[in-house]
């Protein structure tokens, strides 16, 4: 069982972005998805790269370099994919978040606030 204490909120967002992008998860697309998921908060590209490195060190994601492409000046893309431990950690985080949401909803007898998009 993955240790949930290791996953911060932003790490969960980044993992979610990598999972949702499937085979197209690389720096540019991951950052765009993270910005979408974190709205209205702004997210720098550097924060996403640093978090991806940290997740890779924890063994939650794996990465590899693609073939170089002309539109990137002959440079390769670094693709990311969730490892099994990453999927498990994300699932547990989502379940914990759902339990918290349900508890809050019950205790306030229905939500007194509206979620912001």
């Amino acid at each position: 069982m993955a240790d949930q204490n290791l996953l911060g909120q932003f790490e969960q967002v980044v993992l979610g972005a990598v999972l949702s992008l499937g085979k197209n998860a690389y720096g540019v697309t991951i950052h765009a998805r993270v910005v979408e998921l974190s709205a209205p908060r702004s997210v720098t590209r550097g924060a996403v790269y640093a978090t991806l490195d940290r997740l890779e060190d924890k063994g939650l994601v794996a990465s590899w370099l693609s073939e170089p492409s002309k539109e990137r000046g002959g440079r390769a893309r670094r693709y990311y994919r969730l490892e099994k431990s990453g999927e498990q950690a994300l699932r547990e985080s989502a379940e914990a978040a759902k339990r918290l949401y349900d508890t809050l909803a019950r205790s306030r007898k229905g939500l007194a606030w509206k979620t912001q998009r």
């Binding site: 540019v28 550097g46 490195d53 060190d57 000046g73 440079r75 893309r77 693709y79 490892e83």
Partner: protein
């Protein structure tokens, strides 16, 4: 034409490339180019990206036990340094130590750890002999030396024989290159199973070398004072390093099967450790050259001793650097294999 209009200025890209740590250059440079809209937007992206990426890499690659041991070694060497017959004060040593450690971290982040080609390695040997020649010629001006005396003639003969040292250094360097080539040939990567096998073989080899090196370091702790002079600093560093290597072996035995990230982390740790160990093994010999040749040479006006000591130091540094760069290059090749293909 359209592509050229959407590309950042080449000079700006080159500057950004230099600012990024080597492992992140390829992907981050490509991403920044992909989202390029204009020079000011590019600069904004660079400002938000590069410092964070550099800091993350520095933190990720900092092996604190290894840095601590390296710091202790630098402290030991600086504490023994004499300038005009006087030792350095603690604050100067501390400042030099901090600067040295920072330089080490930056070299690991930005240095090109690729193995040198044969031609570059031989050029290194030529430069080393050239440096020794310059030092010997400079020594002719040593004070209190009797022109035409025994030392003077000996030193002149030593200068004449230096060109014959070049093939020896070149052969040693080539030997290191060939040994690394043989190790690199054994590396194959035909899919995840081969990678797992490579990781297992690497872990087993590291464990074996760690035990052998721990034993050698314990023996070295007894021998080092004879070379480097009395004092407990160097033997303490030897013993601390032996303990660290043994602890690494014991910890790895209790861990489960490794993943790609585990293999990558192991490779990074190994690179830093080997860098430190190359210089740790050289340290007693460097101190011996200073203590037994250079300092007595200066004190007694014996230029031949200073020349021999200088030559020994330059040659030892050359060999330590060569061994270190071969090892770092091999590890970099292994890490490149990790990046080579899609994760299945």
């Amino acid at each position: 034409m359209e592509d050229a209009a959407l590309a950042p200025p080449a000079l700006l890209e080159r500057v950004v490339e230099r600012l990024l740590p080597v492992p992140a250059r390829e992907s981050v440079m490509g991403d920044l180019r992909e989202v390029y809209l204009g020079p000011w937007q590019y600069l904004g992206e660079v400002a938000c990206t590069v410092p964070r990426v550099a800091a993350a890499h520095a933190w990720r690659n900092a092996n604190f036990p290894s840095l601590g041991l390296m710091g202790a070694l630098i402290w030991f060497c600086l504490a023994g340094l004499r300038v005009d017959g006087e030792g350095l004060d603690a604050s100067t040593i501390a400042l030099a130590l901090a600067t040295g450690l920072l330089a080490l971290i930056l070299i690991q982040m930005y240095g090109d750890a690729a193995r040198p080609t044969g031609a570059r390695a031989i050029k290194g040997a030529i430069w080393t002999v050239g440096l020794v020649v310059v030092l010997c010629v400079w020594n002719f001006g040593l004070k209190h030396q009797r022109i035409g005396g025994t030392d003077y003639l000996l030193e002149f003969r030593m200068l004449q024989s230096l060109p014959f040292v070049l093939p020896v250094l070149g052969l040693l360097r080539t030997g290191l290159l060939l040994q690394s080539d043989r190790q690199a040939e054994h590396l194959t990567h035909d899919g995840p199973c081969a990678l797992e096998e490579e990781h297992r073989a690497f872990s087993a080899a590291v464990r074996r070398v760690n035990w052998i090196e721990s034993a050698a370091l314990i023996a070295g702790a007894y021998i080092a004072p004879g070379l480097a002079g009395p004092g407990l600093w160097l033997p303490a560093i030897f013993l601390a390093t032996a303990a660290y290597l043994s602890a690494q072996n014991i910890m790895r035995r209790t861990e489960g099967a490794g993943s790609r990230s585990d293999y990558r982390r192991q490779l990074q740790t190994r690179r830093q450790l080997r860098h430190f160990l190359s210089w740790l093994w050289a340290a007693p010999f460097l101190m011996a050259a200073c203590r037994l040749l250079i300092w007595p040479g200066y004190e007694n006006g014996r230029a031949i001793l200073v020349a021999l000591g200088s030559s020994a130091i330059v040659s030892i540094c050359f060999l330590a650097r060569a061994a270190d760069s071969e090892c770092a290059g091999l590890i970099r090749e292994r890490m490149a294999r990790l990046d080579a293909g899609p994760v299945v």
